[in-house]
């Protein structure tokens, strides 16, 4: 169960968002500038709210009143960025292994193989990020986040930087991830069609405020 109740001043507008979700995929939906990325940056711990509270499965991550702010590296929350952010000086294999090394986990060969097969990235192991296509980069970023064994996976417009064809290539992987990897996700998008296919719960944001919350039926109709 993810619980978010935060306030943060962002330039000329104030983000005031409050929602709880125990859905498999919580969709944060809204136009650019609605505050979606700011919210998941706070869930990840990359920034702290001005006021409020964030908790995951009764584990308090942020609590302004008691001065709690768990740093990102202790949250076990995975993050797939819109721009992938693979480490350019490491091979795909080393990128995938990074979270395991940093957390001091033992190798789990079966789980690693499962994730790598799920995302079809086994043949890319020895390449460098510069030698990957946009879609491949995004799949490796997904694998890298998953192999750090997160309790929650944040996806910030993971399809946003891709053209239509690549989007169609990645979306099925995300759906497989939802159905097979059993890691709860928060998925940020401004595309109602993507939302409808992936999300189980939807939070609609408008200029920093939650204007609707519910199933995918709260999404605007696709024209």
């Amino acid at each position: 169960m993810l619980s978010v109740d935060i306030e943060k001043q962002l330039g000329d507008f104030k983000l005031e968002a409050s929602f709880t979700s125990d859905g498999l995929v919580t969709g944060l939906f809204g136009n650019s500038g609605a505050g979606k990325t700011s919210i998941i940056n706070m869930i990840a711990g990359l920034t702290a709210p001005d006021r409020g509270h964030i908790s995951l499965d009764n584990d308090v991550l942020d609590d302004h009143a008691s001065g709690v702010h768990v740093p990102p590296h202790r949250r076990r929350i995975g993050y797939v960025f819109q721009d992938a952010r693979l480490f350019p000086h490491l091979s795909v294999r080393q990128n995938l292994d990074y979270g395991r090394r940093m957390n001091g986990f033992a190798h789990d060969v079966a789980a690693e193989k499962r994730t790598i097969d799920l995302l079809d990235i086994g043949h890319l192991s020895n390449r460098r990020p510069a030698q990957l296509s946009g879609g491949e980069r995004q799949r490796v970023a997904l694998g890298r986040a998953l192999l750090a064994k997160p309790r929650l996976l944040l996806l910030d417009e993971p399809l946003g930087s891709l053209d239509e064809e690549r989007k169609a290539e990645i979306l099925p992987y995300l759906i497989r991830l939802r159905d097979e990897a059993s890691v709860p996700m928060v998925f940020v998008s401004h595309d109602p069609a993507e939302m409808r296919r992936l999300a189980t719960n939807v939070v609609i944001l408008k200029r920093g405020k939650v204007v609707a919350f519910g199933g995918t039926d709260v999404l605007p109709a696709v024209l």
Binding site: L46, P72, H73, R85, P88, S91, R128, A130, A148
Partner: protein, 231 residues
């Protein structure tokens, strides 16, 4: 022009040793200072920044004299180091290394600082979400990505240290076999009748060392950049 004499070899090897030690000791400190300046705003930052660049703009004789006052046998720090740790800088080759390290520090720090500033903070954020504590982010992401700048700073610092003259001769004098570096030896030879051919030999050696250092730095930086970007 005849071959290089044993005395000249002594000065050449001493210069190389002094510059190498100065660079190796100054590099970790330079990385730490560059990182502080690149990544943090703190009280006194402008003063620290100015202090590092001071040796670049002060007359070298002033820097050397200040070192003598501070690290000489009667200097505040020098006396303490000699009494407690037995480390003596005055009129020793270690003092020459200290003078070279101080004089080359601004040239060493600048490329490192620029390369750390150029490292994408978003990659560091990504590392932290994967479970890397801040010091591991620094070691596994920031430092390797700043490597070309670190190499460039080291070579530049080394080349400056090889050529240092004013501060060194003021601080530790010009003692053959102990503190007489190539520059000091050339200076002595120009003051000696019939010293011209020996001076010229050392001039050629110092030009050769500088050229090799610059070419090596160019090659290293290119390789490091290529490796980092995976081409």
């Amino acid at each position: 022009m005849s071959a290089i004499s044993p005395e000249e070899w002594t000065a050449i090897l001493l210069s190389l040793r002094v510059a190498a030690i100065a660079t190796l000791v100054a590099t970790p400190l330079g990385i730490a200072v560059a990182w502080l300046l690149a990544r943090f705003d703190f009280w006194g930052k402008a003063a620290l920044d100015a202090m590092i660049y001071l040796p670049l703009v002060l007359p070298p004789v002033v820097t050397g004299y200040l070192l003598l006052l501070t690290f000489g046998r009667k200097g505040l720090v020098g006396a303490w180091l000699a009494d407690t740790l037995g480390i003596v800088f005055a009129f020793r080759w270690t003092g020459a290394a200290l003078a070279c390290g101080v004089m080359s520090f601004p040239l060493l720090v600048r490329p490192i600082r620029l390369s750390i500033e150029a490292v994408d903070r978003r990659l560091e954020q990504a590392a932290s979400t994967l479970g890397a504590a801040p010091w591991r982010v620094f070691l596994t992401v920031t430092l390797p990505l700043a490597l070309p700048g670190i190499l460039a700073g080291m070579v530049l610092g080394f080349a400056k240290a090889i050529g240092e003259f004013g501060a060194t001769i003021t601080f530790v004098s010009n003692i053959p076999g102990e503190t007489q570096t190539i520059s000091a030896a050339i200076y002595s030879l120009t003051q000696t009748p019939d010293g011209d051919s020996a001076a010229l030999r050392l001039v050629i050696v110092s030009i050769a060392i500088a050229m090799v250092a610059l070419i090596a730095s160019e090659i290293l930086a290119r390789r490091a950049t290529a490796r980092l970007h995976g081409y």
